[in-house]
Amino acid sequence: MPAAFAIIWLTFVLSAAAQPLDERARAIARQLMCPVCEGQTVAESSSELAAQMRTTIKVMLEQGRGREEILAYFARRYGESILAAPPKRGFNLIAWVGPFAVLLFGMGLAILTVMRWTRPRRQKVEL
């Protein structure tokens, strides 16, 4: 059983490494937001800057730089807002944790309210 897992894992790793350069470049471009566009990734945008960024990604891959290094290069220059998926730390934690915290709070509030409604009320006793 562990051998089967090892083979699957090795196949996955080797296929990722053997991905053609263009495909790897496209995958990275999809993880970067175009800095001069509205809601488009570098892969989708037809702006000149996005085209230049796609070329830069390819050149960096050819130089043997990895995905993380390339994303970090752009994030250092354009800020982390350029990342399509913000990293799970610092200010960006709000984007990741915020919705869950609000959901949790809302659910708690709803449960409390329902409990209060369904609690049997004490009858007033007139003396």
Partner: protein, 168 residues
């Protein structure tokens, strides 16, 4: 439950306080990325060779109206502050060579200007639009990034600060 929410907010607050806010200009305060610029006149300019001097790097294009608006001001700054050791570098981006040369002639730009056809320098500087101007101190650190056309007042104030450490 309120205590849990307060704890989550406190953790977020701490994490945020330790980080540089995402809206701040990422390169300000850092060493200016080095570049080698092939100038229109054939010479080559390397930024690292200018260490020890105040440098103003301006990104521009001939089709950009705001770039035209600031051109006489940049030329004025070059003439006024060049003798004091300030170096002005114009980096022409997203443009055609002939159009860029025509604009250099039109405004009588005499400071070093060169094209960045691959966009390597503009990406190294995180440029998102033009004109964009970077002020670099004698230690080679970016002290200010200005978006949009520069004014005479802005240039004078910033350059006086960089040259003398005091505002005019």
């Amino acid at each position: 439950m309120l205590a849990t929410l307060a704890a989550v907010l406190a953790v977020l607050g701490l994490a945020v306080a330790r980080e540089r806010p995402p809206w701040s200009a990422p390169l300000v305060g850092r060493t200016a990325p080095d570049f080698s610029l092939q100038l229109f006149d054939g010479r080559t300019l390397r930024l690292s060779a200018l260490r020890g001097r105040v440098v103003v790097v301006n990104f521009w294009a001939s089709w950009c109206t705001a770039c035209k608006q600031e051109s006489p001001i940049l030329q004025w700054a070059w003439q006024a502050y060049g003798p004091q050791g300030v170096v002005l570098v114009g980096i022409n981006v997203w443009d055609l060579r002939d159009d860029a040369l025509a604009m250099i002639r039109e405004f009588g730009k005499t400071y070093p200007n060169g094209p960045d056809p691959s966009g390597k320098i503009l990406q190294d500087y995180g440029v998102t639009g033009i004109p964009e101007t970077f002020f670099i101190d004698r230690a080679g650190r970016i002290v200010r990034k200005h978006l949009g056309p520069v004014t005479r007042e802005l240039l004078a104030t910033q350059l006086e600060v960089l040259l003398t450490g005091t505002e005019p």
